[in-house]
């Protein structure tokens, strides 16, 4: 078994009377793609937000390589090697593609970045490589706001690539992509997997899940109902019933 890069135990969070996440335990091993699957409102994005520090957990813990990360701010979690994408992308809309990607390599908040010209050249190389891998090189000088939908999605991935994180949390990264783009996206994931990146992706399209993931964690009503390889999970009729909106308790 490969090293567990990110681990959460019993993460819980409620909003008013709604228990959005009710004790989620997840392990993300290096070089594996874990898909978070479940109906809308199951707590998938909230789980991401609890891990990245965008939301505070009511209880539970999370750690990166054994280092506890609860209570850290999002930028501190990011600096420990976590990169995430957002469902609504949140690109730097008025900046060019190159600036978007370069910005992902510049984490120091001071007037200048450390490391001098050599480090700057290295950051530029990282940015160029990320644009190359996502097929955006020709669009480097276009503003993010002017990109087509699929290109925006790839720009969001390019930022993550350039950030050189080894834990990726991707929120519906393949939704709305056509087949060709999906194949290219799959290649990106497999390359990252081969480099030992631990990937967790939220995905509704089960074909994509089967195609890309090694493991599935099935979430419903804030709990992980089942975890395992895609074939087993997706064949489970009880889970399928929940996923397709045919809840046993509702039927009763």
């Amino acid at each position: 078994m490969s090293e567990i890069l990110l681990k959460s135990e019993n993460l819980a969070r409620s909003f008013g009377g709604l228990q959005a996440v009710a004790g989620v335990s997840l392990s993300l091993p290096a070089g594996q793609v874990t898909a978070l699957v479940g109906p809308n409102g199951a707590g998938k994005t909230t789980t991401f937000n609890l891990i990245t520090g965008n939301l505070r957990a009511d209880s539970g813990t999370a750690s990166i390589r054994g280092k506890p990360i609860m209570g850290l701010k999002p930028w501190q979690v990011a600096r420990l090697g976590v990169a995430r994408s957002f469902q609504d992308l949140r690109l730097f809309t008025h900046m060019t593609v190159r600036e978007n990607v370069l910005a992902a390599t510049e984490t120091a908040s001071w007037f200048w970045q450390p490391g001098g010209t050599r480090a700057r050249a290295r950051r530029q190389e990282r940015a160029e490589a990320a644009m190359e891998a996502t097929g955006l090189t020709a669009l480097a000088d276009a503003r993010a706001v002017d990109l087509a939908y699929a290109e925006r999605k790839f720009l969001s991935m390019a930022r993550i690539l350039a950030a050189e994180a080894d834990i990726w949390l991707l929120d519906e990264p393949a939704s709305g992509l056509d087949l060709a783009s999906r194949i290219r996206f799959g290649q990106l994931l497999r390359d990252a997997q081969a480099r030992g990146v631990a990937i967790c992706l939220i995905e509704h399209n089960l074909d994509v899940v089967v195609e890309l993931s090694n493991r599935i964690a099935f979430l419903d009503q804030g709990k992980v109902l089942a975890e395992g390889d895609p074939e087993t999970i997706l064949r489970d009729p009880a889970l399928a019933a929940i996923y397709f909106g045919d809840r046993p308790q509702e039927a009763a």
């Binding site: 990011a78 730097f92 910005a103 200048w112």
Partner: protein
């Protein structure tokens, strides 16, 4: 006439510094502060006190003005920058109103409503000089620095925060630190403008540091073009030479110049927002609704 133009040029250079530094935080960090005149005032009082109590050295006055304005902006920015967008506008509005009252009340430091008078003529290393060359040099330095910062990593950091704060944070950027730094830089610049203003007029009082002044500087930035290098300077030139120009028009009675000026400002702003929403120097495609 020469003296008149020199005076106008000095004021333009001083307000150019104010507009350029305000533009830095509005255009690049998306921080809409309506309290820039507060830091202008802090620099002015600090510079005036240096000249009155120590030596009227322009460089020293500027440095002290920058340190006080920049330093105090840190204390104020830290709590205020926790709020975003329109909430920050409201917070800075509160600060502006509070500061104007304090400026009028803290007599030992500001001279109260009467202000500080008899500020000696400035010197530089013991030699008496005019404020104009110092102001132009300071403006050039500020423009150089803002241009460097804007094009570099710090500028990208600020723009990324402006466009998508949560995404910037998710990429490891310490958003609060970057914003605080940007505000401190801009306010230190406003402090320099203030110190030069005090030395130039040899008199300062709270009238120059009110809400009206903050709005005027913001108008310069918006009319010239937020996020551009030269826009704020052009905005300063236009808004400051307008009253001067109007005074020369024989058919406007001297008593009505103020009212005519307000009408022209209002009309210009409205037309600008319709035809050039990104300002005179701004990118035409920016600011327009894409729908």
């Amino acid at each position: 006439m020469i003296a008149y133009l020199m005076n106008l040029a000095t004021i333009v250079a001083i307000f150019g510094i104010l507009a350029a530094t305000l533009n830095f935080i509005i255009g690049f960090a998306g921080i809409f502060s309506v309290a820039h005149a507060v830091f202008f005032g802090l620099g002015a009082y600090a510079g005036a006190q240096v000249a009155l109590l120590l030596v009227p050295d322009a460089l020293l006055a500027c440095l002290v003005g920058a340190a006080i304005a920049g330093g105090l902006s840190l204390c104020l920015a830290l709590p205020a920058l926790r709020v975003r967008g329109e909430y920050f506008v409201a917070a800075s509005l509160g600060l502006q109103m509070m500061a104007a009252t304090l400026f009028a009340e803290v007599k030992p430091l500001t001279g109260g409503i009467g202000g500080l008078v008899g500020i000696p003529r400035p010197t530089l290393l013991g030699v008496q000089i005019g404020v104009l060359p110092v102001a132009v040099a300071a403006l050039a330095l500020i423009l150089f620095l803002t241009a460097r910062l804007q094009r570099g990593a710090f500028g990208r950091t600020l723009q990324s925060i402006r466009d998508a704060e949560s995404a910037a944070e998710a990429l490891g950027k310490n958003v609060a630190a970057a914003k605080t730094l940007a505000v401190a830089f801009a306010c230190a610049g406003a402090g320099i403008a203030g110190a030069l203003f005090a030395l130039h007029l040899s008199f300062v009082n709270v009238e120059s540091f009110t809400m009206d002044q903050s709005v005027l500087v913001m108008a310069m930035v918006i009319i010239g073009g937020t996020g551009t290098l030269w826009g704020p300077i052009i905005g300063a030139v236009i808004l400051l030479s307008l009253p001067a120009g109007l005074a020369f028009l024989p058919f406007i009675p001297a008593t009505e110049v103020g009212a005519v000026q307000q009408i022209i400002y209002g009309l210009a702003m409205t037309l600008l927002m319709i035809f050039r929403p990104a300002g005179l120097v701004g990118d035409l495609s920016k600011g327009r609704s894409t729908a």
